[in-house]
Amino acid sequence: MIWKQSRFWLVTLVFLIVNLLIVYLAYPPLLKRLRSVQQQSTEIRSKLVDDRQFVQNLDALNLKSNEIKRYFQLAEMALPREVASDILLLQLDGLLQATNLSSLSITVPFSQGITTTLLPPTETPESEVKAGSIGASRSNQPAKTAAVANSSFTLSGDIGFNQMKILLAQLATLARWHRLSSVELTVSAEKTTGSLTAAIFTLPEAPSALDDLDAGFLEAAKKVFDPLRPYATAPDSQTEGAYGRPDPLAPL
């Protein structure tokens, strides 16, 4: 019988040792690595497909970077991260001048609980004009510690029915989004006074992902933002104004 031969046992032993070594020592790490590399490869390929698409979109956006920058500024103005009452005050002032209604008073929020009123210069004594002028209002602005999520502004004063219609039409073009909560006209002693109050909003969160970017967002932006007018430019103390008075308390 063959198993009675020592050569058979020797060959079989060598075969078993070599093959067991291959099966137990070589295959497990190779299979483990295969699984890991396959998983890694699948993940990277999937990311690559997304990223290629993303960069393709990015290239398209890059061609329109000027447009994006312009609409970004308008979007930031429309629904800012902070209340930006000072800019709102200037915008409303610009709007009233554009509609020849600069006699109206503007009330804007400067923080929760504090409001500053811009009184019309023609209707107030000199001392009050200074107190309520734009410059003085700006100095009242507290440090921006708490963002007001939902606030409002008011325009009020002598205004007739048709002037109110013009003002409302113009207000619809204001770059700062708002929702009117009240429009009121009252006749007393043959004088018509009116007021309108509108809610303004801030939205602090600033997304930075393009994942859900609509393909036609620039077209939509054009439709939404192009008709809007800022009515004022943001003041820049670096380039604007003359500063330094020997006696700042001396009368102007």
């Binding site: 019988m1 063959i2 031969q5 060959v11 060598v14 093959n19 291959i22 295959y27 190779l30 690595r33 295969l34 590399v37 490869s41 990277i44 390929r45 990311k47 690559l48 990223d51 993303f54 960069v55 990015l58 956006l61 890059n62 994006i68 920058k69 609409y71 970004f72 979007a75 930031e76 429309a78 629904l79 029915f161 109110m164 219609k165 409302l168 207000l171 619809a172 989004w177 929702r179 009117l180 909560s181 009240s182 429009v183 009121e184 006209l185 006749v187 509108a198 909003f201 997304p207 930075s208 992902a209 393009l210 859900d212 620039l218 939509a220 932006a221 439709k223 939404v224 192009d226 008709p227």
Partner: protein, 186 residues
Amino acid sequence: MINLLPKNAKRAGAHSGMLRKLTALYLLVTLVLGAGAAGLFAYNQWLGAQTSQNQTELDELKKRRNANKDLVAEAAFINDRLKTETKYRDGRDWPAILDLAATVTPVDVRLTGLKFSGEAAALIITLTGESASRRSIILLKDKLANQNGVNSTEITTLAENKTGSVKNFTFTVVGAYASPTKKVGN
């Protein structure tokens, strides 16, 4: 042909042949296993190289992404604001809303106050005024009720004022109005 070899020699020859065949089989199995291991190793290497190449491309794309992250953030910001437009922007046609008050006022009625209030879709309209005719005041209320989008109109006050022999009536009419929307530039 007759095999004249002794039985032992014949058996040894047969065993030796079987052993050779078995050894060959062992070798074949070993080679297949070895080749499999080598194939796996080579495939792993190839896949690893491919993955590394893809990773390099991915890193490159990431760099381009980061180089444009401001532009991306700006685009995302615009997109975000566009999505919230209807929530935070007044789409109501306010001059038309004001015109409603003019349209419904009879010629012998004078409004002394008008107020539109409410942030939701339905506005509360409050009209105050005076007239020498009660009928005209009721006509104003009915005319207002007949306007598109207006419902629940009612006269909340109606007072008679007499100066000598002249009668005058002051009133307040209230209604709810689902105002039309109109976008700027549309």
